[in-house]
Amino acid sequence: MAGKSGRTISAQAEQSWKKSLLSWEGMLVFLFFAVNLLCMIISPSYKLTNVLREMPKYLTEVFLLLPMAYILILGEIDLSVGATVCLSATTACLAGNAGIPFPVVILIGILVGTACGLFNGIAVTLFTELPSMIVTLATMIIFRGIAEIALGSGGSVSLKHNEGFRALAGKIGPIPYIFFAVLFAAIIFIFILSRTSFGRRLYAIGSNRTTSFYSGIHVQKIRLVVYSVTGMMAGISAMFLVSVLYGANTTTGTGFELDAIAMAVFGGISTAGGKGKLTGAMISAFIIICLRIGLGQINMNPQVILVILGTLLILAVMIPELLKNRKRKQA
């Protein structure tokens, strides 16, 4: 990636960083309400029950957003999460069909995910010269390839007994379980990032890996942990996905990694590392999800939705930069 040359260390710059971050989160909250208002105006079907019905499937991707944010803050990238979801879902379904009881199946799914993440972690920590993008690109192909082999020529597997997973898609009142799971996970991740030393070390490594290393931070150990956790979250995401699809196929989870990165970046996390807050990412995730649900309900061409999302993403990143530059020129 390009060098991090544009960074200034003066205290004044720090202040303006903080200020711009704060107002970015505020703007995101405003945007969230605005988007929901917009959806209510354009779509007569945009009611709470309907939104709650359509959200769980999109929420499975939010499980990936949380660890992906950690990875982005580290200054790295993980393109293999979608493939990990696929492999985890496939293994779980095959295990379920082989007669293994449901709780064990869930455990297997999550373990497979963690194993994939661990593999990534080992690869990047053993060979630190390798950029994470290319390593995870290779593992993305490998993981999905393994799932393809496991699925055989049919390319898909469906659960013979779906009671267990059906229960996973259950609700408390009108709200499906996955909401609570996502909320719970989000609180943990946000807490760790903003209030523990582990989180601060993540920012440090992302800002300057060499300096962090020499200040005594166990860089490689932390990277290993983060990648493994990413794999674990992918496993959890896969379990919820199976509860919606009652099966898995070779295309499960495609595009999840790009969606996760897009949601994170839209929420203010920079891919150069060392910057960004998870709260922003969560809000932006919900903005994007609500927008997709709303636009889908008015039967907008899915390609047009893609164009809008792409444009928003670019504007979201470009405009703060341009404004910052103008301020710097004024100063």
């Binding site: 107002s23 703007m27 354009i42 359509e54 495609t254 309900q297 061409n301 899915p302 047009v304 893609l306």
Partner: protein, 363 residues
Amino acid sequence: MRKQLVYAFLCTAAISGILAGCSSKSSTTESPASPQKTEAVSKDGAGTGGAAGKTFAIVTKAAGNPYNEKMAQGFQKVIEAEGGTCIIKHPESATADAQVSVIQSLISQGVDALCIAGNDENALQAALEEAMAAGIKVSCLDSKVNKDSRQTFVNQAGTTEIGQALMDAVYDISGGEGDWAILSATSQATNQNAWIEAMKEVMKESKYSKLNLVEVAYGDDEPQKSTDQTQALLSKYPDLKVICAPTTVGINAAAKVLQDEKSKVKLTGLGLPSEMAEYIGNDDAHSCPYMYLWNPIDVGSLGAYTSIALVDGSITGKTGDKFAAGEMGDYEVIGASDGGTEIILGPPFKFDSSNIDEWKSVY
């Protein structure tokens, strides 16, 4: 403070842009292939208006494929002629995953009937069961979903008939013996797997004992991949005699490869006459002596009539139900091999050099 104002202004601008985008998109693209709500247009004498006031949705397998487009057109024409509102939905990608989101969106919109060409036989069960629980009449067409996910299935032609016709074509073209291969679409597509199974069943008869199926290749309904797979088949099996491609994209790609390379290998399968016109012929210069298909527009129309009949209660999808499908005649619901029910459009239609010119402009 000024920065906040700038951000607020930008948000408002973005949102008004979206609003403008919504309204302009809804009005400018009026081609039948665009997925929006089209208002009811009742034509005199064309229908009995049995669908008046109701909303019918068709969900295709993917966006863009000409076969899917024609099917959707047929569906839309009938629905609108009968006075109903038609929604055409294409999934974001050709996966069952994307179709689940579409189904959920349609449930939220409260449509009355949903007719879907499934990308996967079982993966849509949860979503479709929820649709049926919400009172939506669920049927499928072209590519079925399992019996618990649907009320009935509009089958373009009997699965065994298709298998028999294609197997006979392979037998005939290859001269009764030799290697042959199948070029299919995606490995999950229900209709593809059903027809391949049917062919394998037919092949068990002693008449076909000298034919050897060497491989089932998957072109994923992508021209590039289908081309690559065809070339791989050619180089892997030098004694290959016939390729059978029961998918319009696959047969198109294979026809081009075979004809360009002036290969001795011949081709048959299911193809759109408009795409295959220049490849059909009996001589060496043409790679495909004959092929089969049916009218996808009719498949869509029958799907529409089925949905209308389900909604107004004249059928419930169980065996023995009869209903009228406008100018297409009367149809009866029969039992299907998977325990559910189906409605068969008719036998597969053969396209060869004698009739291809007539049909290539129809579909």
